[in-house]
């Protein structure tokens, strides 16, 4: 490596600067880490190619087993039986758990997985452990993800016969910036450098842009703008994007996402089949884990079958003499999961509204992810978008990873003589970013769906006479109250010149640069004075670390409303 031996980067720096010294830039690989499945792809010089593992699989199960001395993941591991994953020794669903605290409902919903997810409900990271030789061995989602990524990396290096460092990773739309830092941490642990983190549907949008570009070349037609609605539902997350594509450029118009997915469908169904299943398995004994695993496999299998048949017979022996035997039909499945489907519908409507687009504007509707096989979802999306047919030139399970691989090639500066990499995605912010003000309200400074890079500012003022300090608490999300949002960090502005309340102008500026790094700048001005009263503060966010859930509460307890801020009329 010709990199300097010692480089001091900022403590909060998780990515590091890109160093491109070689004449032949390394092509970044695309990785799609799904909640249940994972895939890896690369631009091979003429097209995107999915890499296969030694068992000839393009889709690898996302899990890590802690059975032997060396943990092994779904990339290399040969499963003797599906139930092995469910024996308590394997950790999966890490994408759902990463960067979440133990008060998060998503973590709570994970407590009836076969491995141990323990919550103390105080806002710290949950205790996660795998059962190894009858001992609960603790681990973290980051560690599990890193082990998995190392396997993926080794597999890719072996096939490509070169070291792999740069990656483009796809992420759910609803991931907070704090969760992104956890993903970055896992990648760093695996020796990977993240070139880009792409919201999943935007990766699909890039693939769509390339396909449209090709059709234009072939038909020599005028490449008019096409609006695509992309709906992605995987095991853990649901995302919607609207993109406007022309000439290989896809401008994301709006994003919407939520933590709903196949995992919820599965849990609702298990609850339906065995109403007391949660309490039945809460003590995590050996026998309970085993029968939970059996139930899980049977239910999952039934859901898959219900995509093609209208009814399915479930017969499963749960051990201890209890046996489940039931005929389930498709209507039942849809009924049980009605709320989930309603949420999907709302996400699409919200996304259309945010994009300021009408249903008639949509050229193509693209359904991807495992959920795209569910008839109810297909009909629901077709219904909202008033389309008879869905776009079917995209493989629903491979679309995201292919898009990531394209982005990997584009961002690595690779060009293609046939113009196949003449592509660009212009991203928007998936969540609003703002601060706490006007009481306990979340006041967004950069609203969601703002084109990146972005810089916006808002003026705030003090709430008390002679208030000389103010607390700037930065949140990300869509909730009206701060507690409904993700805390990213906080800092105190000190040395505000004493003045009546409402007089000092506290300008809070947020800046997201081209590498998606968020910085917050705060300056204080007294009207009539030409210079900022105190040095401007610049903070790179997020600054919160693990166990941050209680921070906001602690701040509130210590300071109450004494350091509060309120909004001043917005400037344009």
């Amino acid at each position: 490596m010709d990199e300097p031996a010692y480089t001091v980067v900022s403590d909060s720096e998780t990515t590091g600067e890109e160093k491109s010294s070689s004449a032949f830039p390394e092509i970044a690989i695309g990785i799609d880490i799904g909640t249940s499945q994972c895939s890896i792809a690369i631009w091979n010089g003429s097209q995107v190619e999915l890499l296969k593992n030694t068992r000839n699989q393009k889709m690898m199960r996302s899990y890590v087993t802690f059975k032997d001395e060396v943990p092994s993941g779904g990339v290399s591991n040969q499963l003797s039986h599906e139930h092995e994953i469910l024996s308590g020794a394997a950790i999966f669903n890490m994408k759902r758990l990463i960067g979440r605290v133990d008060t998060d409902p998503v973590v709570h919903a994970s407590t009836c997985l076969p491995f141990l997810v323990q919550t103390l409900d105080i806002g710290v990271r949950p205790f996660i452990a795998a059962l190894v030789n009858n001992v609960w061995r603790s681990t973290t989602p980051e560690e599990v993800l890193a082990i998995f990524l190392v396997e993926l990396r080794a597999m890719a290096e072996m096939q490509l016969k070169r070291p792999i460092r740069n990656v483009v990773l796809t992420i759910p739309v609803s991931f907070s910036r704090f969760q992104l830092t956890r993903i970055q941490r896992a990648c760093a642990m695996a020796g990977l450098h993240i070139l880009r983190l792409m919201p999943e549907p935007t990766a699909v949008a890039l693939l769509y842009a390339q396909q449209q570009q090709l059709t234009v070349h072939e038909n020599m037609g005028s490449g008019s703008e096409k609006i695509a609605l992309i709906f992605n539902m995987g095991a853990g997350y649901c995302d919607v994007a609207l993109s406007a594509t022309a000439g290989g450029v896809s401008q994301i118009k709006a994003l919407a996402g939520s933590t709903i997915g196949g995992e919820d469908l599965l849990q609702n169904m298990m609850c339906h089949l065995l109403p007391d299943f949660e309490s039945r398995f809460s003590n995590h004994g050996m026998n309970e884990i085993k029968s939970l695993g059996l139930l899980r496999v049977a239910t999952q299998d039934a859901i898959h079958k219900l995509s093609t048949q209208t009814a399915v017979q479930i017969d499963v022996n749960l051990g201890n003499g209890s046996k489940l035997s039931k005929l389930v039909n498709r209507e039942e499945f849809e009924e049980v999961n009605q709320k989930i489907f309603e949420k999907c519908e709302n996400l699409i409507i919200q996304c259309l509204h945010d994009a300021k687009l009408e249903i008639d504007d949509i050229t193509d509707v693209i359904l991807v992810g495992g959920g795209s096989y569910i008839p109810k979802l297909r009909n629901l999306v077709k219904g909202i978008c008033k389309k008879e047919e869905l776009y079917n030139f995209i493989n629903p399970l491979e679309a995201a990873v292919c898009g990531a691989a394209l982005e990997g090639a584009v961002a690595s500066g690779i060009s293609d003589p046939f113009g196949n990499l003449d592509l660009l995605t212009i991203q928007v912010t998936p969540l609003g970013i703002g601060i706490r003000a006007d009481g306990n309200n979340f006041v967004p400074i950069i609203p969601r769906n703002t084109t990146m890079p972005a810089r916006k500012d808002l003026v705030f003022t003090t709430v008390r006479d002679n208030q000389i300090e103010a607390l700037v608490t930065v949140y990300e999300g869509e909730g009206v109250k701060v507690e409904e949002n993700h805390l990213l960090g906080y800092f105190k502005i000190t040395g505000i010149p004493p003045a009546p309340k409402g007089v000092p102008e506290i300008n809070v500026c947020m800046d997201i640069d081209a590498s998606n790094v968020l910085r917050v700048l705060a300056g204080v001005i007294l009207p009539g004075f030409p210079h900022p009263a105190i040095p401007v503060m610049e903070i790179r966010l997020p600054t919160v670390d693990d166990g941050h859930g209680w921070c906001a509460e602690a701040l509130h307890k210590t300071y109450g409303s004494t350091l509060d801020l309120e909004t001043v009329q917005k400037k344009i």
Partner: protein
């Protein structure tokens, strides 16, 4: 490198901090009593547009210190911006605007003198046909976007970040009728004080009624019904502005802008609730 980025940010915040100075008006009427109609109206007017304090503040001479900060910050760009040739290969540009060198495919430094209309190859008219705007926007982004110069030099990456941001800003400004109106007047040397009030009681009553209706609106259908007349008004005043501007009646143009500002705010509020 880190330092430079920091300096740039600082420049930005001082720009921002400085810019807010002359027009600042605070919304401090947090605890108004809805039963007291006169007070509620004060509150309403304040949040609507500007307040009585505004005039007082406006009497202060505008502080222009921030401009120096901005200009000194632009040194890095302007040194080569004076040159009309490409900073990288010295090729003379074939076509204006010169944001990107066709010969060596390199992003050029920012030219402050270039206005938004020029960037989009438009004549300096208020009424623009925007069918091609999105395409031009995408064409520029495809040449200038920071994502595409990831493997290029630090210098070019900075140019790309600036140019790309400016193309976005230009697009945003020109595609919105109100911001386009404000911008085109600014190019004529007329600064629009957006906080200035309109003393037309009819308009104020109308706006207040719309707001009340928005408050009372039960569902999105009711909101949509309020929305369409507001948007019609926006279009109407936008047309009046175009006429006034074409005939160089700048006072009338300013009046149109103020009215558009009111409707635009209500429009945004309704959109937010929808």
């Amino acid at each position: 490198m880190m330092n430079k980025a920091r300096k740039k940010l600082w420049k930005a915040v001082s720009d921002v901090v400085g810019r807010t100075l002359p027009y600042s008006t605070s919304r401090r009427f947090e605890t108004y009593n809805p039963n007291n109609s006169s007070q509620s109206q004060t509150h309403f007017l304040n949040s609507l547009s500007s307040s009585s304090q505004l005039q007082i503040i406006n009497l202060c001479p505008p502080h222009r210190f921030s401009q120096n900060v901005i200009f000194s910050g632009k040194n890095f760009c302007s040194e080569s911006a004076d040159n009309s040739a490409c900073w990288n290969c010295n090729a003379v540009p074939k076509a204006a605007p010169f944001l990107f060198c066709q010969s060596c495919r390199t992003v050029q430094p920012l030219h402050q003198s270039l206005d938004y209309f020029q960037i989009y190859g438009l004549d300096k008219n208020y009424e623009i046909e925007d069918e091609n705007m999105e395409r031009k926007y995408k064409d520029w982004q495809k040449k200038l976007h920071p994502d595409l110069v990831h493997s290029k030099s630090q210098r070019e990456r900075e140019y790309a970040a600036e140019q790309s941001a400016r193309v976005i800003e230009a697009y945003r400004t020109l595609t919105n009728p109100l911001s386009r109106a404000i911008y085109i007047l600014k190019l004529e040397g007329i600064d629009v004080n957006e906080e200035e009030t309109v003393s037309d009681p009819e308009l104020l009553t109308e706006i207040m009624e719309i707001r009340e209706a928005v408050e009372d609106a039960a569902d999105s259908k009711a909101l949509t019904e309020i929305l369409s007349p507001v948007q019609e008004k926006l279009v109407q005043w936008s047309k009046s502005f175009a006429y006034a501007f074409r005939n160089q009646k700048f006072d009338e143009a300013l009046n149109c802008i103020r009215r558009m500002t009111y409707y635009d705010r209500v429009n945004k509020e309704i959109m937010k609730k929808l």
